[in-house]
Structures are given as C-alpha cells and as structure tokens.
Amino acid sequence: MSEVFGIPLQALLSQLLIGLVNGSFYAMLSLGLAVIFGLLNIINFSHGALYMMGAYGAWMGLTYLGLNYWVCLLLAPLAVGLVGVVIERTMLQRLYKLDHLYGLLLTFGLALIIEGLYRQAYGVSGQPYPVPELLKGATNLGFMFLPNYRAWVLVASLAVCFATWYVIERTKLGAYLRAGTENPRLVQAFGVNVPLMVTLTYGFGVALAGFAGVLASPIIQVNPLMGSNLIIVVFAVVVIGGMGSIMGAIVTGLGLGLIEGLTKVFYPELSATVVFIIMAIVLLVRPAGLFGREK
C-alpha cells in the first residue's frame, strides 16, 4: 500500500473526495449567494434554511407521496424556488431602498422561522434518506473505491455550476442580468422588466440551494439544523472568494472543500476551523477577497 507523508493513499484519496463533495456544496451555495447579492444587494441569510427545505422536500416527497429521488431532484428545487419568489415579492421587495443590513436581518428572521417550524414538526434527530437504486454501490478505480453516489453529486453540481456560469456570462439573458447588476435603472429604461428579473433571480438563487439540499440528503442525515451549520462556513467562503465573479465563487468553494478534506487527514483538530482561519489570512492579505473588486 503506497503512502503519502505517512498517510495511506487510500485514506487520503477518500478524504479528498469527501472534501470535493463538500466543496461542491459550498460552490453551489456561494454561487446562489453571489447571484442574489449581485442583483439584490442582499446577503441571503435564509440560504441555509432553504437548502434544508430542499433536503426535506426530497424526504417528504418520498415519505408522503412516494416520489422517487429523480422526481424530487426536479420538484424540490422548484418548490424552494417558489417559496423564494413569494419571499421576494411579499417582503424583500420593500427593503431595496433601505440600508442593505435590513435585508440581512429579515432573512435571518426568516431562517429562524423556517428552522423552528421544521424542528417543531420533525425534532432535531435526522431522517435517513436512501441512496437511489441506480447509484448504489461503488466503482473500483484500481487505486480506490469510488462510491457512485458521491461521484454523481460531484458531476451534477459541477454541471449545474458551469451551466449557471454559461448562462450568466455567455447568453443574452445573462447579459441583461449583468447589466442589471451594474445599473438597474438604465436597464429598466431600455425596456427590461427589472423587478421581474430580480424576483426570478432570487427564486433561481434559492432553487440552487434547494437543489444542493436534495443532492445532500442521501449523504447526510436530513435534519432541521443542517442548513445553519453550513451557511456560516459558506459565508466565510464568500468572504474569501469575494462576490465579484461567478467563476470565483465556484473555484473558491471547491478549493476550500479540498483544503478542508486535506486538513481532516493531516490535522483533524483544525478541520472545523480551517476555513475561518483562511478567511482571516485572506482578509489580512487581500481584504477584497481572492476574486473580489474593491468598491
């Protein structure tokens, strides 16, 4: 058995894979946060709660309606997106003229409500969600066993991330979006329905979180606190990457997942805090973040 710095290669690779899978969740969530922040200037604190709703959507779909994983992978993000649209239309819309901090406070309150309601209904213990039949088992790559489901998570989230990047950076719709980020009033004057675009952007951003939640449900126990534990790390990821670029959010998310995985192998005590320590270092060296622009 080959070893790297005294760590069996097998263990190292499987931790790296777990790191990459976590990183793809960071990437999807920070991507959603960045897209929302770009147009709405709001940091969506309820992102974690909506991610949790996505996971529960999959679990509820299976438990109450007998819907399989693949149907839920489509329906749950749509449902979460719809919740997002309602939140934006009824509440967030009233805050755009105010200090950005109010958006943070409102979505924090919403996160507490959502989390509390789920805790009231399902308690804090996790609900197991089975891996779909098609993706059970593992593939022998010769040097390691690759669990099929984790491979799927990696592929699916990367595909979604790059599709989002493509739409925003390479299509006409994305051009409107980027223009709206720079100067919404001018874009409105050109005849683009900016309020609708804002609503749909928020809906899309939180649907990404819902999608990540469904993907995560077979890996971790579905429980009401899964979102709030994750969202703080994602905030640190966003500070490290800076919210200026879509690709930046994806790369930073994956990179930090990898680093976290490596830390688990070499110095497990630090694995929970390494992202925050990196954030502190980045703030000292490059306050705007790795991909950010000073405003």
């Binding site: 940091i43 509440m91 409500i113 509390g116 500070v239």
Partner: protein, 307 residues
C-alpha cells in the same frame, strides 16, 4: 426636569427596588435581564451609534463567561476580579476580531464577525478549560472584595446592578462625548468624516473594542449569576438574540436595548416550555421589526412624544 432625566430616575428606583419584587419576579430572572440589558447596550454602541453590524457578539459574551468561570472556580479569584479578567480578555478578543472585521464594511463585516465567532465557538468546543459540551458548571459566586457573600440572591442582585450601572454609565458618557459624536458622524457619512481628518478605522476599532469589552463584562456577570458558562453563550443564536434585543428596543436609542432585553427575555421565559416556538416567535419578531417597526419600541415612543 426633562424626559431623559425622568426615565433615569424611574429606572434607577425600579432597579434599586428589584429585590423587593421577589414575589412577582424571580430574582435570578431579573439579574439575567440586567446582564442581557448591558450586553444589548454594549452592542448598540456599535450598531446604533457607529453603524457597524456585528453578527458575532456572542464570542465576547460567551468567552468572557468561560474566562470568569475558570478564574473563579480554578484560581479562586474574587468575583470582581473574575469579571475584570473576563472583561479584559473580551477586549483583547474584540481587538483581534475587530482589526480583521473593519477591513471590510457593511454586510461583509457582518459575515466576517459571524465567521470569527464561529471560530471562537469551535475553540470553546475543543479546548480543555471550557469543559466542551458540559461547559463550566458550579462556578462559585464567591465573596465580593472578600467581604460580602454573594451566594445570597439579594447581595448578588446589587452586585449585578452595580456592574450594569457602571457599564451603562460608561456607554452613556461615551455616546455623549466628542468621541461619540465622531462615531455618529462615521455612521452617517464615513467618507465625509475621513475628509474632515478623522481616522475612521481607528475610531471604529476603539468602538469595537469598547463594545466587546462591555459585552464580555455582561457575559462574565451572567456566568456568576447562573454559576454556569456553556456553549449556548458562544453560539451564533446568542449573537442573533442580542441583535434582536437592540432592533426591537430601538437601535441608536439610549434606553432601547434595555427595553428590548426585558421584552425578549420575558418572552423566552414564558415560551420556554413550548419547545421550538421560541425560535419561531423570535424569527417572526425579526421580520415584523424589519418590515414595519424599524425604529423599535423606544424609537416609536420617542417619535410619539415629539409630535
């Protein structure tokens, strides 16, 4: 006599008479309210008067509680020295986190402080002296100056009240000093304050450290009252709670955070047996405050009296 003086006298009398109300309110509850009122006032110094939203104030509050708990239990320090130790450590922590956080503004600052307080949370979870999941239990209340036994709730109440008055007086002096005026000018228009020759970052940092130190003082005192320092005090829920107290009471008002602390703590006290409803109601108050009630209770009352 103007309105502010009247409120001062009313609050002072009410505060001094606290132990007489022991048939109506539980004294430990009152002491907790005082600790949280000081915490919220310290937080308000930063949010209401400097315009910085920190989402990680639980770090100073909770970590100071651990320091005081450890100092009083393991080293046998007297309570006033224990509180002093907690306050100083919180000030140091505030200096480190504050120096990092003020490198960014607005929502970034909120995210950075939240992330750093999560770092403190994990340190508290893993460090030896904090007792991990158990926390530090059975912290001795000790004897004030080695003379007055604080195991008696009435003496402890006056100790806590004294700490509160000290902290509140310091905050009151700060916001009414030239230094406080500069903080307000930074809140209103930072570039202009800078162009007038003020080093905005330095002022922000001093406000940050002061706020952290007083939050620590509140946390230290609370650890003596409940004889417990636990992970709940460093958790981000606590950071959210102090934001809520300040927002609900009225940010940028002198008395708002006190009213907010009393309301939130009272609510939690009566909802304690309802499980998750505390969280749901807390969240709902946040939403209502932001959408319809941004001046808070005291802010709205003040506007009513002015008309």
């Amino acid at each position: 006599m103007n309105n502010t003086q009247k409120v001062f006298i009313a609050l002072g009398v009410l505060g001094l008479a606290g132990p007489l109300l022991k048939d109506i309110v539980y004294p430990v509850f009152l002491m907790n309210v005082l600790c949280f009122a000081l915490f919220a006032c310290a937080f308000n110094l930063l949010l209401g008067f400097t315009g910085l939203l920190s989402f990680g104030h639980a770090a100073y509050f909770g970590f100071a509680a651990y320091v005081t708990g450890h100092a009083c239990k393991e080293w046998g320090l007297t309570p006033e020295l224990g509180v002093l130790a907690g306050t100083l450590v919180a000030a140091g922590l505030g200096f480190v986190i504050g120096s990092l956080a003020i490198r960014r503004a607005g929502i970034y600052l909120a995210m950075i402080t939240l992330a750093m307080s999560q770092l403190v949370f994990f340190v508290c979870l893993q460090a030896k002296f904090t007792g991990g999941e158990d926390g530090i239990q059975g912290i001795p209340r000790g004897k004030f100056l080695g003379l007055v036994d604080l195991t008696d709730n009435v003496s402890l109440y006056y100790f806590v009240f004294g700490v509160f008055v000290l902290g509140f007086a310091l905050i009151y002096r700060t916001i009414h000093s030239p230094f406080g005026q500069i903080l307000k000018s930074i809140r209103e228009n930072e570039p202009r304050a800078i162009s007038l020759g003020y080093d905005a970052d330095k002022f922000k940092l001093v406000a940050f450290v002061l706020s952290a130190a007083l939050s620590g003082m509140a946390g230290s005192t609370k650890s003596l009252v409940n004889q417990l320092a636990s992970l709940a005090d460093v958790h981000w829920h606590m950071s959210g709670e102090v934001v809520l107290m300040t927002l609900l009471g009225g940010m940028g008002t002198v008395f708002g955070p006190i009213v907010g602390a009393l309301t939130v703590k009272g609510l939690e006290h009566y909802l304690a047996e309802q499980g998750s409803w505390v969280t749901i109601v807390t969240g709902a108050i946040f939403v209502v405050c932001v959408l319809a009630f941004r001046r808070g209770i005291v802010g709205e009352l003040a506007a009513l009296f002015k008309r």
